[in-house]
């Protein structure tokens, strides 16, 4: 079986099990919504300040949501002892990791897209004229969160205090993603909106570096 085929089977399995319960999506969306709302209470931003701080806040919400929602990716396998079974499958271990990364990417992106209109209304920013470019930034940033997050979910699943450990591992690594994605989004909310090419390049570089590293290290990550 090719890696792509195996990865798509894993992806389908992850999506199926998630859409049966919808636990993950529901909690993630509500959590991110809470962060967005609470931020507004804590800082009471004026329209100008919303434009300036909104993107940073939005990405903080995505990062926190991601660091919480990515834990079950391997945590669930660990709890049910199903990782053995997965590993027993005669497929490239990278296919398992890739399938899970893609599933997490889909979940997180979906949650983000649900959150965007709420954010636009609460913070009075008009996202429609820049939606195409914003989605490009969302895709690149979310990819970065999903790649590193899925790997660290596998790392955290092996340790004590798993749920707490994942954000701890993930958030400092994601510093470049937070800076690049938030700054790129600030640029999009500027008048006139502009997408800085170096931020997009940095996000893409982050994705490529860590995707390559995951591919090289996944054999060690999934062994017992």
């Amino acid at each position: 079986m090719t890696t792509a085929r195996a990865a798509s089977i894993i992806l389908a399995k992850e999506l199926r099990s998630e859409f049966r319960s919808r636990d993950l999506l529901l909690t993630t969306v509500v959590f991110a919504l809470l962060v967005v709302v609470l931020f507004s209470f804590a800082f009471d931003p004026s329209p100008d300040e919303s434009r300036r701080f909104g993107p940073g806040l939005l990405w903080i919400a995505f990062l926190f949501a991601g660091s919480l929602m990515l834990h079950p990716s391997f945590g669930r396998e660990h709890a049910n002892d199903t990782l053995y079974a997965l590993r027993m499958a005669p497929v490239d271990p990278f296919a398992i990791l890739l399938g899970k990364m893609l599933a997490n990417f889909v979940f997180l992106l979906f949650a983000e897209l649900l959150l965007l209109p709420v954010f636009a209304v609460l913070y009075n920013v008009d996202l429609l004229p820049v939606i195409g470019r914003l989605i490009l930034v969302l895709i690149l940033g979310t990819l970065g969160i999903s790649i590193t997050g899925t790997v660290f979910s596998a790392v955290a699943a092996q340790a004590r205090m798993r749920e707490l450990l994942l954000p701890l591992l993930l958030l400092p690594i994601l510093t470049p993603v937070l800076i690049a994605a938030a700054e790129a989004t600030v640029g999009l909310l500027d008048d006139p909106p502009q997408l800085a090419r170096n931020w997009v390049a940095l996000l893409a570089a982050f994705d490529i570096v860590f995707m390559t590293a995951s591919w090289m290290l996944c054999g060690y990550l999934l062994e017992e």
């Binding site: 590193t148 790997v151 660290f152 340790a159 004590r160 510093t175 700054e183 931020w199 940095l202 860590f210």
Partner: protein, 238 residues
């Protein structure tokens, strides 16, 4: 074992003597800086401590890769030793920075590129140490912390790039114009001597820490053997 002990003592003694020389050079030999005066002298330990932390993390990175490639525990010991010592030097750098910045810049902290990079680096490697405390199986701990260590190290250039772009787009904070660029010759010599000495100190400390890690491993193995033989006797007797 005996000769190792003696070599260690000599190395420790030599580095301590060199540290004393470096301290003397920084305080008395290096000339007075025109605008900052005495406070500038902290720079001879502040910047070299940061550079030394970088070299320690590079050693840890090499150790992490070598562990995954060979699975020999000694590379794991090297990894954790270098990270611990590196975090210590990084801490020195982060503490001496604000002490210097407050009188010179008027603020304890600014989100300048180098400062921010060092802080993120410190956070990353503290997390590495936390991760290790949460895993008890030695092999698993070695493998997963090596993976995390590699990821952390790969992140460093990306963090640096992002902060560089970020900081050039924003108005520059009150930053001293290029301290490293036009250094007076005596200052430069003292500075490079301090870099050398602190790196030597780092190597000696890593070596020492490595020995502790090896001894800990030996104790763990002995305890394991003892427990096994006790268990064997118990089942044999019944």
């Amino acid at each position: 074992m005996g000769s190792g002990w003696k070599g260690n003592a000599i190395a420790m003694f030599a580095v301590t003597a060199l540290l004393a020389v470096a301290g003397y050079a920084a305080l008395f030999i290096a000339p007075d800086e025109r605008s900052m005066h005495e406070i500038q002298r902290i720079f001879y330990f502040h910047a070299p401590a940061g550079l030394t932390a970088f070299s320690a993390f590079l050693i840890a990175f090499v150790g992490n890769i070598a562990y995954l490639a060979t699975r020999r525990p000694k590379w794991d010991w090297l990894g954790v030793s270098a990270v611990e010592v590196g975090v210590a030097f990084c801490t020195v750098n982060l503490i001496t920075g604000p002490i210097w910045a407050h009188p010179v810049w008027g603020v304890w902290w600014t989100w300048d590129a180098r400062l921010t990079l060092t802080l993120v680096l410190w956070l990353l490697y503290v997390t590495y140490l936390v991760l290790r405390t949460l895993m008890s199986d030695p092999e698993r701990r070695a493998t997963f912390s090596a993976i995390f260590g590699i990821f952390a190290y790969l992140d460093v250039p990306l963090v640096y790039l992002s902060i560089r772009i970020w900081r050039t787009q924003h108005p520059q904070p009150v930053v001293l114009g290029g301290a490293g660029s036009g250094l007076e010759p005596t200052m430069r010599n003292v500075f490079f001597f301090c870099i050398l000495v602190l790196n030597l100190l780092m190597v000696v400390l890593v070596r020492q820490r490595y020995r502790v890690e090896r001894l800990r491993h030996e104790v763990e193995e002995l305890r394991f053997e003892a427990e096994n033989s006790l268990a064997g006797r118990a089942t044999g007797g019944s």
